[in-house]
Amino acid sequence: MLATLREIFQENWEWRRQILNLAVIDLHKTVRGAVLGWAWLFVKPLTYIAVFWFALDLGLRAGDSTGGDYPYILWLSAGLIPWFFMQSMLNTGANVYRRYPFLVNRIHFPLSAISNFYALSEFIIFLALMAGLLVVCLITGVHLTVYALQLPLIWILMFFFWVCFSVMVSPLSALSKDFSNLLKAFSTPLFWISGIIYNVANMNIPLIHQIMAFNPITFFCTAQRAALCDHFWIWDKPEILLPFVLVFALTAVVALRNYHKLRKDVADVI
């Protein structure tokens, strides 16, 4: 297990320059040929934020349900922006070897690095969106507190968790189409269930709180909102942090097991 971990770190360190370049090339691929170019990377997320804000705040008047003195759209963006990243990781990141089959069966390239550079490319968009959000906060005079300082930590956790996730399930997705379809089918329900557009804490059923504490998507939305809206340190609320740490540890262990066991079989089947 530790040998696999060391191997993953070693190969990712060895290929670090390529990983960064490949992440940029991956972004380039999505935008090439379009007149608007790089703007396309942000059109979709910004449209989603606008539409959800329109439907929820103006249409359903959900703005009051968050129970804070910050603009609803800030609260909404704090959850939706990480969701876009997580959605990519759930859909494509979970089956990343099929996105780059030639890296698996034509060229000698470490498989864990594929997860890494794909996540990095999505993470770059995420960081740009978050930077935009923070700038908008500063311009419009929304008060950013000292709690915003925990954001980088949350982001790093989020990045590593989803790389782990990708390393854990990608070999399985490569081996079985059923598995990747199953994950895809879960993506939309997860959006609605994970409290991205409503506040899980406001639900009056304690059992749901306990279950949702183990949902990493909920954790990252809650943590983002803790930093920007609800103003508390995530480590001050162990009932939020500990279940996530547990899930992270479990994911890492299973990821190492799968990678160790299946890595050499993936090229046989893709």
């Binding site: 390529q18 370049n21 490949l22 090339i25 380039h28 691929k29 090439r32 040929g33 030639f102 890296l103 698996v104 069966n105 034509r106 060229i107 000698h108 390239f109 399985l172 081996l175 079985s176 189409k177 059923d178 598995f179 799968n258 066991k261 299946l262 050499k264 079989d265 090229a267 046989d268 089947v269």
Partner: protein
Amino acid sequence: MSSSETATSSIPQEFVRPSVVRDNDSNAEVAIQFEHVTKTYKLFKSDRARFLATFSKKIPFKKVNANDDLSFTIKRGEAVAFLGNNGAGKSTALKIITGVLYPTHGRVTVHGRVSALLELSAGFDPQLSGRENIAFRGQLWGLSNQEIKELEPDIIDFAELGDYIDQPMRTYSSGMKARLGFAFASSIQPDILVVDEALSVGDRRFSKKCLKRVHEIMSDSHVTVLFVTHSSASAKEFCKRGIVLEHGKDIYEGDIKSAIEFYEKRNA
């Protein structure tokens, strides 16, 4: 290909566990060494069975040995031909050499960087332009941006793509893709060059140009060339030594003339 239950019985104990040694040491005397290498593919009845087998050992499957206790040594600067019919295990051996596949048993040693002229048109990203694909492959090959910039004009020139180089590769014909593939793989100065039947790229004129390029590369005494074919004429032209494969096994090894004779008699 042969299927066998107990491939391990004949293999010396120390080679039962697979191991791969791979480095960029282009001065080592041995370029490639296979010691009792067996590659077993597991054939399941369905994808579902394959998936379940990752959790349980009880799922039945058939074993096929694409390489079966294969041993050979290729020294630095040698030009060796692999002769064999379809299914003899040539491609599997090459994929193990390029590092894409892993052996099931045995020890594989590769010293030096391998470039493969295999399935030339494969592995390009159709969304990216020819130029971007060169940069992309260059990254994977471990070149710096500077080195890629230096190689680029050569590659584009050799591939004869003209203005198409900045068009997405999905608009390329298969011949154009193969030309670019050949131009890239032959321009990056590998230590070990693997040549599949790739020399039939494009039209006659281009194919001649490719042959010339391979001759140039081979004239460098430091480059090791592995030539894979089932036609004996081109093997004679390039190689000094031949290895005949059948059912994943090495059945003959010798100088190229006698190897071709053996191979042709066997398939007469």
